[in-house]
Symmetry: C2
Subunit: 446 residues, 2 copies
Amino acid sequence: MELTDLHLLSASEAARLIRDGIISSEQLVEACLTRIREVDPQVQAWAFLDADYALTQAHALDELRLSGRAIGPLHGVPIGLKDIFDTTDMPTECGSVLYAGRTPSRDATVTAMLRAAGAVIMGKTVTTEFAYFSPGKTRNPHNPEHTPGGSSSGSAAAVAASMVPLALGSQTNGSTIRPAAYCGVIGFKPTHGLISRHGTLTISRTLDHVGLFANSVEDIALLVGQIAGYDENDPDTRLRAHLPFAVITAEEPPLPPMFAFIKTPHWQCADEETREGFAEIIEHLGSQVEEVELFPSAGDAWQWHQTIMSAEMAHNLEREWGIGGARLSEQLRAQIERGREVRAAEYLDALGRIKLVNDSFIELFEQRYDAILTPAAPSAAPKGLASTGDPSFCTLWTFCGMPALSLPLLQSSSGMPLGVQLVGPRYGDARLLRTARWLAAKVATS
Amino acid sequence: MELTDLHLLSASEAARLIRDGIISSEQLVEACLTRIREVDPQVQAWAFLDADYALTQAHALDELRLSGRAIGPLHGVPIGLKDIFDTTDMPTECGSVLYAGRTPSRDATVTAMLRAAGAVIMGKTVTTEFAYFSPGKTRNPHNPEHTPGGSSSGSAAAVAASMVPLALGSQTNGSTIRPAAYCGVIGFKPTHGLISRHGTLTISRTLDHVGLFANSVEDIALLVGQIAGYDENDPDTRLRAHLPFAVITAEEPPLPPMFAFIKTPHWQCADEETREGFAEIIEHLGSQVEEVELFPSAGDAWQWHQTIMSAEMAHNLEREWGIGGARLSEQLRAQIERGREVRAAEYLDALGRIKLVNDSFIELFEQRYDAILTPAAPSAAPKGLASTGDPSFCTLWTFCGMPALSLPLLQSSSGMPLGVQLVGPRYGDARLLRTARWLAAKVATS
């Protein structure tokens, strides 16, 4: 491999080569920066990027390795952070003019964990305004006239265009799975509470999740293993045994996995190419997939999700509304205004449904299925940059806090990626990754 | 001691005598039943009591002890449960005609823990309607024309009248501390989340606490040690090291405790006798007490408490409202109607204040003080049975989820008890009990 192609390495390969002294972090980061200079003028994935500072980090990590001291599993590997993760050494503007120039005094928990694992914080990637719908400048790397999806637009696009092997985003509705599907990368939204959100933008404590982007399931497993865990500053994280995600992901399933194909009430929004793609996958899986009807009570989850999200956004963005309501987008203002009308009793009712809907899914998983199979989005990335597309195929799983992953297994006739979404039971993250790796390999070898 | 006086034993003494074979549980329960027959026609503390069934439990526990098998720390000791704790062998009616004859199919977590510790579940004590304000039939044992307080009316009165040495109640505003003060017993509301509420009436997840009643701090410590702990069915409990409450409570403090006397914004409601009583206590404590001004932001806690309590009650009693709204008391209907008007954003704002107000108190405790000293109620038990009195001296500590305890250290000129309330930092329960035991001993020997 040429030094100029190092940006094509997976994170796992890159970490091994750096650990073994075959390449340096500086060489890897230099290759990524070169790639960024080539493609980012068109893609525009970055909200902040200081090439010299990235190289300085890489250089320091190379020195550390040469000193013989212990190094972390991500030593020298660059990662992009959605511009909602606090970083003490870079601005964190959350896609809003209200936060222009804001540089936090503390790292987010996840930022600190990544530094501890040896990662190079490459820069901050473009987010929609406050991780809601109003788009940033990023374009789809497969076609600049199409949206990259959102809200984690820059992170999905940066990984898709091989500017970095890893990136973090977030998901409150469909903000990781949808851009991953549109950009043709792997997006992973783990179980709610698996990864701390302390030091990241809060729009909805109940629904906010950290999201992961990579080009292989192996890389997702490597990354999640470094950032999962209890944080006393995020009350939704829990003390749990730490799982060896990478080891479990690499294992062969004891039996071929069984998939439950669930159309959801939004199937009629799925376009012809998505339907055809799923028909192919289902035929290919044969007896390993069964169509399962969603239980009727889950049909209200989209409304409950909106009740919770709008009410919590109205609460969490109250200060921003107060200091600069007129400088918020019309979409965001409308959402906050909807949220302000929500009654507490209606909100509490919606909250209470999360456990009930999860309980109904538990039965499904315990009885028979390893994962739910469902579209990641109703279509490939739509044309136009004014909208980030439709999150409705993500809403139910986000509401439930169940782990979900998008695999770029299909293509539209025009060559745009189409995502296949896998969903597992809460805290079944490692097994879901194992199932996803199995499915990706099966489709690749067919 | 005569067998007929066994009802005067503390729970700790009774447990020791039973363990040593000096008395039997049956003798103890018989003495308590005799006492109940004497005084309960006037006090009316019990919602359900089956004398034969209590004796059957005692007899079985005596047999178990005689068999040489291991016995629990409360073996053979009778306890009264407020009629909001689910019991499979007795009705649980929550003080509402809507629940008449309801017998649950599962014990509350705490009921099961008490049975495991060897307690005799003596019966169910009177609660106000759904543990809110509308009074039950119970009268104050010190004067039947006065309220016993509420909502844990029967539990406080039963312990005050020596019908049982122990009882459980609950507190969402002032429902343990206030009746304890009015009836002249010790009431303890531990840290929010220390004791599971699974299988008890939920009116407000955020504010509901299990409450304890006894006639000595030692007994409170014995009881809390049996029922504190993590319960996966109560999401507000936490995995924590199990503390030896009884041992810590019995220890001498390393230094004489320091008290912060806090009047709160409701001090102007305290009557002359309460003010005089506190002046005496403060004089008696000398340099061990300092008056501390409450920080101004805490002054809104009463409103935040009402926002949370009314909104959560509207949510939690929605079914009852639907099936029998007309059979709810006017007070409860008005509260639910207020709660239905609360906006989610206002509710979430109030929720967010809990941590902020707690953080301000932490400083107070870490710097200098072992406990806050403040009235348990603005006066002795008011005359009349139509109201259960004023909870306003309890609201702030309930809102914060801080442990609070009422000691019957004062008396009105007419001989009615007046409570002194001690409050500690969250999860400082054991130390608060140690401080309370110290204070009770100091006042007793003065």
